[in-house]
Subunit: 338 residues, 2 copies
Amino acid sequence: MSRAGGQTFVYDNPPLIAAHQSVVGPKEGKGPLAAWFDTVLEDDLLGQKSWELAEMEMVRRCVQAALNEARLTDEEVQAMLGGDLNNQIIASSFAARALGVPFIGLYGACSTFAQALVVGSALISGGYLDNAVCAASSHYCTAERQFRFPLELGTQRPPQASWTATACGCALLKKDGNPGGLRVTCGTVGRIIDLNVSDANHMGAAMAPAVFDCIAAHLADMGRAGADYDLIATGDLGWIGRELLLELANAAGLDLPPDRLIDCGASLFYQEQDAHAGGSGCGCVASVACGWLMKRLEAGDIKRLLLVGSGAMFSPTSSQQAQSVPGIAYAACIERED
Amino acid sequence: MSRAGGQTFVYDNPPLIAAHQSVVGPKEGKGPLAAWFDTVLEDDLLGQKSWELAEMEMVRRCVQAALNEARLTDEEVQAMLGGDLNNQIIASSFAARALGVPFIGLYGACSTFAQALVVGSALISGGYLDNAVCAASSHYCTAERQFRFPLELGTQRPPQASWTATACGCALLKKDGNPGGLRVTCGTVGRIIDLNVSDANHMGAAMAPAVFDCIAAHLADMGRAGADYDLIATGDLGWIGRELLLELANAAGLDLPPDRLIDCGASLFYQEQDAHAGGSGCGCVASVACGWLMKRLEAGDIKRLLLVGSGAMFSPTSSQQAQSVPGIAYAACIERED
């Protein structure tokens, strides 16, 4: 109901995260976070005829699991907010078709999950919705052939390339006036920032400036320092992008304690898993947040989290036309209320 | 701040449409609505090197014109909500990059402009934003080669095909407690409806069921009849889809007076202009609403408008995989306040 000024929404009635679910593919299920994910797929085709249909089915199952956890029926869901990397966000919209719920399609590339939390929380706190499903997904096999090369080509990947996660995360937000639980307390809408990185294989470098801009805006709007968060989790910067973010913060004198800064993409795989710069894709930050970080909040390990999803707003067409890769980021503050 | 129940948001502090601008291409500028559009382009390449860059430039100019009309600088804009038909909505995000404003990327296919009005009005009425730019665009040359065939092929079009409009519309929403002006008073979020139309050239048939579902939900939620609106303007159903909508309404006993029902796509071109079933594309409903309908509201010709944008949530990939074409619709009620 109120603005902190600048780009940040403050939720006067912070929505409860009533349920959260994560589904990941076999490779992600062999990484350091394996034990935290709710569902690890044995087969990333999920018995479907195509990778795209598999991704749709992964989204549908993940959302359904969250509804089951919260004991909500499809008919009781007031809105689904989400998106994915497929052209025309078909994974999310086909999942919304299967569920039959009102749908608000979003596109923020790999930042979409954080974007959904920021917009969905505003709609709930503002009294427009009693509940909302926020979901985002990606699939290695749909993304690679769409954005880069068909997998069958066996194209070599440069070391700065990230690995699109086969993953989905879903958080069910709910209006709830009782104390306790995980709450989304404020959220920041980022700007499109473009420092002329034109290497479509170097997402960390393309997105780091937008992440920096969003975190700086968030902290200024809220009058906070980085140390006011137990953890700041960026989306898909990967190992290289995280270093670039710290360099930008350092150069600008922004307080961003390295020991409280993690990156979801850099956390998803072991370096030995050949994921190069780390994980990426809408499903990366979504599954890591819903599978790992929210559980750490519930366990009391951390109490206040800033989740910063970041996206590269390019297309193969824009790259072929020699355009650089613009980045965007959204930040959602999630707190454990006692 | 309140819900009418069901799928409809009621804006307790209805945002003012402080400015609205439309830009259309040369063909659209020879249609029946030519005199109403704010800018008719002489050259739909806008001096750019590619159709995609031309569409980005069209969006940027349209938004800039709206900001000029409202005497707002880029720095004063708190958010831009919008999208387009290009993969990864590059026209909108690159325009947001040029403007440097916080960006909420949406994807509702051709319904995106109505979707932006529904979400943007909630954010303003809820107190999160003082102003918001809602914009959507399409370009015949970017859409045809992406969704169907390269123009150079000269592929013959079936009679039920619609013509993607080269057009952009932009409405600047503003928090304003003074009486008077055009206001967005309520908005409905649609569901994905799919009656198994699999002809990717027959958008009217694919979208009519979603439009019917959205209008029916809106009227039920608000306790209104179709006759409570001076005009109900659907998005891109075209001449054929409009008839299908009337058939669906008739079969369900829904009051939808044909003399108060127009379709933006069916209004954009003369039948002699070889546009087959009518206009379509995100820019169709956006430019017709901002260029024609809002001016009719201001002139007092109509007082209460229901703008129903509709989108086909498919991709060439989903069509190639033999999936049907799901539809969605969003409805925004725009009223003239005396």
